[in-house]
Amino acid sequence: MENYEWFLSGIIVIPIVGVLILLIWRKATKKQAATIGIISESFALAIPLVLLSVLRRNDQIVFSLPWIRNMGISFRLSLNWLCLIFLLTEVLVTLTAMIYSLGEETGEKNSNFYYALLILFSLGMSGTTLADDAFLFYIFWELMLLASVLLILIWGHGETRFRVALKYFIVTHLGSLMVLVCLITLFVNFGTANITAWMMQANSLPINTQVLLIIFFIVGFSVKMAIFPLHIWLPDAHTVAPMPVTIILAAAMLSMGTYGILRFPFALFPLENLQPFAIWMMIAGLISEVYGALMALAEKDIKRIIAFSSVSQMGYIIFGLGSLTLRGMEGAIMHVVYHAIIKALLFMVVGIIVAITSERDIQNISGLGFKYPILCVCAAIGVLGISGMPPLGIFNSEWMIFAGGFDSGVSIALTIIVLIGSLLTVIYALRFFGNIFFGDRKPESLPQKAPLALILPTLVITIFLIVEGLTPGPLLTWAMKGLASFIGGLH
């Protein structure tokens, strides 16, 4: 095995070491725990970047160790362009959330557990993206769920967090079980859990089995993506979770559903077998988009507004995937990245607003604009970003998603409706911004300044968003390379 292949395992091993240190070091203060968390996440961020040059040569890096030999299961990680995008997004979001968390009160006590769980949450996601073995994939997939459930359960707000966490666990676990059914069906048919090996053979399955698998995979992963009507866990979980966890949930974990859909049904089966589902995915996308936006408009709780906006944004992504065109899928991948950045930004803004006003009802907050100009600018950029204003990221991806929709030849009318539906996003975004930052100042007594520890990371993310939006080049190239190696039969 080459040296750089061992490097790959570092993305998994170093965070585990971080967790172990935190579990042993029980007296760690929040800052110390955060340092460990940030260091281990930085490694997880740095390793893929270091491997970038190797990836340019090989297009894929594989790390493989035998594990359960008699069942054909191995500890197999693989890094390719598609993984890279999701991996970097996820690690960056976690890092941001960890830094942001330093500025607010979550996890003041027992910070070691708190940061250990944050690392585990992130580890679950990076493992999910890297795993090239179905058994391993499922383990990481569930780790991600477990860690987030514990975070909500222990540090969540309010009396209801017990029920919310349970509902979140059971609903998403149902989705996971559907995925598990598919994974084991494939495992049984091919006698190995190696996902790359499946890609060669999957087309040899009878067409009925393929259709069933595609349905189960897409529905199973849609639960994680919170596509209407499988979104029921999302608003409550996002609202009850402490802000840093909400940031990771909304910005990073939702995208794992997208990754799953690309990784399994899209990569395994030829696109013509997916064709019958194209229209349904697009319709689901449309309904999610409109429903999420309407709910965001109707909500009064500012955290729930942004939470419902996730349902709406995931609608675009499934719509782009459903178009089954290269452009649509590229758009969907880019949308994942931009949505992650913008959603992180918006939740950070909400977190700051809650911190300074101790209010979450949008009717009780207004006129913050002149008092906190930096916050106002960040919020404005986030709000403009999510409404698809050029050059802020989402404009690029929505453009490609709509182009994919028109290209798909499924239904032009549907694409036009989605396009018009995106106006709703503008409405709820502007309502959110206008209500909070304009008008008479409410509540009366406000602190002099917004907490610097919260403003700084928010500012950094805002700048990052602008940079990303202006230079979509590398991301697009990666997405194209990733799709080219994954999806057969694309042109």
């Binding site: 594990w67 359960i68 030999r69 008699n70 069942m71 006590k109 027992n110 557990f113 058994f135 499922y138 383990i139 569930e142 780790l143 477990l146 359960l153 222990i154 540090w155 707000h157 309010g158 009396e159 017990f162 966490a165 349970l166 666990f169 059971i170 676990h173 149902l174 079980l177 598990l180 059914v181 084991i184 069906t185 495992f187 049984v188």
Partner: protein, 494 residues
């Protein structure tokens, strides 16, 4: 008397040990801990012989003279099988841990004098049931274990519920024994013999009725729907250590004796497989649904035990119905992990009851930070039973799942759907209990508040920690264990 003495040596050690132990402790007035250590020594002796026998399997099983006893009419023949040796090894290891546990668990009781000998006798009886090839002999040994087990269940006979539970177990088991006796009658009438050395060549209606009788008898002892009604009352009220032994090993192992007898009596593999799979579905559903909303900790665990009986039956049923070795391996692996996780769950719940003096689930609230290690182990048991990845239960689930999908048959897939439904429903049962341990009230971060911790005795901690470690080790690195199970299945000659 002829044959290889080593085959019956473990039973001799256990029975002899039981008598000697009773005499010694009677004469010398031993205290509880000394007696538990002596019982452990006896068990270790039996275990060593069994392990030796297990190594000898390649020489032992294929040869026709691997038996012990007298094959003349009226004689008794004992024949080992790889399966029986394996199950006995699992059973004795669990019993050793339970005996260590009892060293402290019985601290407040006075009748430990009979407790340990009875445990040894239950083990010997179980071992004899696996070995016997004579129906009457089987019946006697079943009765022996029943009586010993009901004495153990009613061990705290100053409690009315304990008496009730023991009585219920005795009555229900006697019903099962009556069925067996009836079966013996039919079999004897048809063949004029009571030996069962190989599969009947020409089963007639009488022997088939006999097979049905034995099927019912063993189903009752295993707690198969609709004969499961005694399970919650008995496991719920017996001492935790005994519940762990019965629920984890004893009643589950009945499912492995049942096919051996019924097949030899002329039941076809399809019929047996069909029976197991259909009733497995009932067991899974009833167990997991009734688990929800239970307020007593051990009653809750008993219902989950009914569901697990269903999972086991499902695996074995696929094996028989489709003639699939993979399903047998899955079933046997599941037996192994359920034995570990279930006894762990009962033992841990026993610790709670020992220190809290109640088994009300609501009383568990917040105990997670008074007894952190116990709470962790109990959580491992519950999460393992719920099939959370990286714990042993998940590997078992994965294996059963693959076995059901390999067949590709609609029947097994329908049962699989029920299996899945049951696992999801039971999640709703396990999780709240698991979480409650750490969760006292609605105040944020209450989880980590540290009121005065309870010092848990080492006698209780050691077996529980060992079992939890096993659950994690099997979950993370299942290869050798799967190999072991596959090895046993290869020698399984039914």
């Amino acid at each position: 008397m002829s044959g290889i003495f080593n085959i019956v040596l473990p039973a001799v050690i256990l029975v002899g040990g039981a008598f000697i132990l009773y005499l010694i402790s009677r004469i010398c007035n031993l205290n509880n801990r000394t007696e538990s250590i002596l019982a452990i020594l006896v068990l270790i002796g039996a275990l060593l012989v069994l392990i030796n026998n297990f190594k000898e399997i390649p020489n032992l099983i294929p040869s026709s003279d691997a038996h012990f006893g007298n094959s003349e009419p009226g004689g008794i023949i004992l024949m080992p099988s790889a399966l029986s040796i394996f199950i006995m090894i699992v059973s004795i290891i669990i019993t050793i841990l339970i005996t260590i546990y009892s060293g402290e668990y019985l601290a407040r009781d006075s009748r430990y004098l009979v407790y340990y000998p009875l445990i040894l006798i239950v083990q010997a009886g179980l071992f004899g049931m696996f070995l016997s090839n004579n129906l009457f002999n089987l019946f006697l040994l079943t009765e022996l274990t029943t009586v010993a087990a009901s004495a153990l269940i009613a061990f705290r006979f100053d409690l009315e519920i304990a008496i009730k539970a023991g009585f219920k177990y005795l009555i229900m088991s006697s019903l099962g024994a009556m069925m067996m006796l009836l079966g013996i009658y039919f079999f004897y009438r048809s063949t004029g013999d009571m030996h069962l050395t190989q599969i009947l060549e020409s089963p007639d209606n009488l022997t088939r009725i006999a097979a049905a009788c034995f099927l019912l008898g063993f189903s009752l002892k295993a707690g198969v729907f609709p004969l499961h009604t005694w399970v919650p009352d008995v496991y719920g009220n017996a001492p935790s250590a005994i519940s762990g032994l019965l629920a984890g090993v004893f009643s589950k192992s009945m499912l492995f004796i049942l096919p051996v007898i019924c097949l030899r009596l002329g039941m076809t593999r399809e019929e047996l497989g069909m029976y197991l799979m259909i009733f497995a579905c009932f067991n899974m559903l009833v167990g997991s649904v009734r688990m929800l909303g239970q307020s007593q900790l051990r009653r809750f665990l008993s219902f989950s035990s009914i569901a697990q009986t269903g999972y086991l039956m499902f695996g074995l049923g696929i094996g028989f119905y489709y003639d699939l070795d993979q399903a047998f391996s899955a079933g046997l692996f599941l037996f192994l992990v359920i034995a570990i996780m279930k006894s762990l769950a009962f033992l841990a719940s026993g610790v709670y009851q020992f220190y809290l003096r109640t088994q009300d689930i609501e009383r568990l609230r917040g105990e997670g930070h008074r007894m952190p290690l116990i709470a962790l182990c109990f959580s491992i048991a519950l999460a393992g039973l719920a099939g959370i990845p990286l714990l042993a239960g998940f590997v078992g689930k994965w294996m059963i799942f693959s076995a059901a999908l390999v067949t590709g048959d609609l029947f097994s897939i329908i049962c699989l759907a029920i299996f899945l439904t049951s696992t999801v429903i039971s999640l709703g049962g396990y999780l709240p209990v698991l979480i409650k341990q750490y969760y006292r009230s609605s105040n944020t971060e209450e989880v980590f508040n540290n009121p005065e911790p309870v010092r848990v005795s080492r006698w209780l901690l050691i077996p529980i920690t060992l079992l939890s470690l096993l659950v994690v080790i099997i979950g993370v690195y299942p290869s050798p264990w799967i190999n072991l199970v596959i090895y046993v299945i290869r020698w399984m000659l039914i």
